[in-house]
């Protein structure tokens, strides 16, 4: 399987659908340990993003992801705007000029996204942020010969759920200290939806690198 502009659009559109569906849920998660806007931020940003990319014509993945990243940076705000925005900008650089790529190249681009996230947010695994989903998921994809759609979804979900036990060290939830324990991190939850949307692309169940 290869990954092309149409599939990339589908990924973003599927993700946006899931975000809109889970807008209230994400906001509730953020009300518990943050300021209650994560669902609103993501819904606003990805709505705009989908509008932008369905109107646009793209010859390569780089320019598509650039529009995604720029729209997120300009429309979301908060912590998630720069973070998701940076992730897509980094992927865009890695995929510049590419009409379609194999999964290996896509994973490399997402690894660049992760690096961008970590530089921007200065968070590590264990800090109870979206990194707790991103890093193990990228690791999984990097090291597999084949990617199981279900494995990818399950792993992201497991890692999202895993943030529940953690004490937040970064982001707004960090102000709660130990009181952040027992709640799922909202950014981890939206990141789970991002990878679950990607997994849906891999319809056949397994994808060879």
């Amino acid at each position: 399987m290869t990954f092309d502009v149409e599939q990339a659009k589908k990924w973003i559109i599927t993700f946006n659908d899931k975000i809109q569906e889970n807008k209230e849920y994400l906001t509730e998660l953020d009300q518990a340990i943050g300021d209650g806007d994560h669902g609103l931020n993501m819904a606003r940003g990805f709505q705009e993003t989908v509008k932008k990319i369905t109107e646009g014509k793209y010859d390569d993945l780089g320019s598509l992801f650039k529009d995604v990243g720029m729209t997120l940076i300009a429309k979301v705000g908060g912590a998630s705007g720069p973070l998701y925005g940076t992730a897509f900008m980094k992927a865009s650089l890695a995929l510049k000029g590419k009409k379609e790529v194999d999964i290996k190249a896509l994973v490399e681009a997402l690894a660049a996204s992760l690096d961008g996230l970590k530089v921007r947010g200065k968070a590590q695994v264990g800090d109870k942020t979206m990194i707790d989903v991103w890093e193990p998921v990228i690791e999984y994809m990097k090291n597999r010969e084949t990617i199981h759609s279900k494995e990818l979804t399950d792993l992201s979900k497991e890692k999202m759920d895993g943030t529940k036990e953690l004490e937040a060290k970064k982001g707004r939830a960090a102000y709660l200290g130990k009181r952040s324990i027992g709640h799922i991190d909202p950014g981890a939850a939206s990141s789970y939806l991002l990878f679950a949307s990607l997994a849906e692309l891999f319809e056949e169940g397994e994808v060879a690198q």
Binding site: T27, Q31, I33, G34, D35, G36, D37, L40, N41, R44, I73, A74, K75, V76, G77, G78, A79, S80, G81, P82, L83, R120, G121, A168, K169, K170, G171, R172, A174, Y175, L176, G177, R179
Partner: protein, 331 residues
């Protein structure tokens, strides 16, 4: 949710329209942005000051745009940091070639968005300095975590850095005095009731009939603990003790006091809080140079208050006393 609004998703837009209509003699809105700048911006020969953050904290920050304080304020969605492109617009609009100081409250989102804007500005050859305000002693200060939040003490940074900029100081000097304010200001708040982000439609947290939250953040971030409501004198003492522990004041030190209402607290109650605050400081032989009582940094319709103390030296006193002419702060 009962609010005087039209559309929950248009509150920032409508607010800015109403604000500019009210104060068009003082401020203007940059076209197609949520940026408010001084009417005469950029001011020649002066360092520009830009602050901003999520909306819902009015009069912060647009209320402080004017002579002797800010040159520009960037208004994000409710409780959501503004985006880099908006901040960049503000920077460009207030820079007169003398550079721009960004006054940022210490939230991950604010820091990242302002940093990205600063990078954009520097790429355009604009000199940018940043100061991060982290006055909220409710939160442990730790290098391993995000550190303290920025709350009402930020207004003192606007006032004092703004006064020095107005005198024609350099960016380095303005940045230095802003950092001095940050080092010397501490705040802590508490809430009696939650508030509702219009687009969310329901309160950000819950408090029982007789419950209050000590150490509340200005976006409804939980504080240190929930307790039963107590007499104002005791609440004042709890907040003040945490602040004094951290600020390490000595006898005969001079301070400015701010008793800040979070939105729904009657001025009456803020003055009742100040009664105890002034008594405690007097007992400790700390000299109160000036007391500010009112709404400076709010959280929509949250009931509650914060107390801020700023330790003063001669330079800070002179700048605090200097002229300021903004909607929300006049001297």
């Amino acid at each position: 949710m009962k609010k005087l609004i039209n559309d929950p998703n248009q509150v920032v837009e409508d607010m800015l329209a109403g604000m500019v209509a009210a104060h068009s003699n003082r401020m203007k809105r940059l076209p197609n942005t949520n940026v408010i700048v001084r009417k005469e911006a950029p001011i020649q020969g002066k360092v520009g000051l830009v602050s901003g953050g999520g909306s819902g904290h009015e009069p912060s920050h647009a209320g402080y745009v004017g002579k002797g304080m800010l040159d520009g304020a960037v208004c994000g969605e409710v409780f959501t940091s503004p985006t880099p492109d908006q901040i960049f617009e503000a920077i460009q609009a207030v820079d007169s070639g003398n550079g721009v100081l960004l006054i940022i409250k210490n939230y991950t989102g604010d820091i990242m968005n302002f940093e990205m804007a600063a990078e954009m500005a520097e790429a355009e050859g604009i000199n940018v300095a940043k100061v991060v305000v982290n006055d909220d002693v409710a939160v442990e200060d730790s290098t391993y975590t995000t550190g303290r939040r920025g709350i009402a003490g930020t207004v003192f940074v606007h006032k004092i850095a703004g006064a020095l900029a107005e005198k024609g100081a350099t960016l380095k000097e303005v940045e230095a005095v802003a950092k001095k304010v940050v080092e010397n200001v501490r705040s802590m708040g508490m809430a009696l009731t939650p508030c509702t982000v219009p687009a969310a439609g329901k309160p950000g947290f819950e408090l029982g009939e007789n419950e209050i939250e000590i150490g509340m953040g200005i976006h409804g971030e939980p504080g240190i603990e929930k307790t039963q409501i107590q007499p104002a004198d005791e609440i004042a003492q709890i907040l003040l003790e945490k602040i004094l522990d951290d600020l390490k004041l000595e006898e005969n030190d001079k301070v400015a006091v701010m008793i800040n209402g979070l939105g729904a607290t009657p001025l009456m109650e803020l003055y009742i809080m100040n009664k105890k605050v002034s008594e405690v400081l007097k007992d400790k032989n700390i000299y109160i140079h000036e007391t500010f009582v009112g709404e400076f940094m709010t959280s929509l319709e949250m009931a509650g208050c914060s107390i801020s103390l700023l330790k003063l030296d001669d330079q800070l006193i002179e700048l605090l006393d200097a002229q300021a002419d903004t909607i929300a702060f006049k001297k």
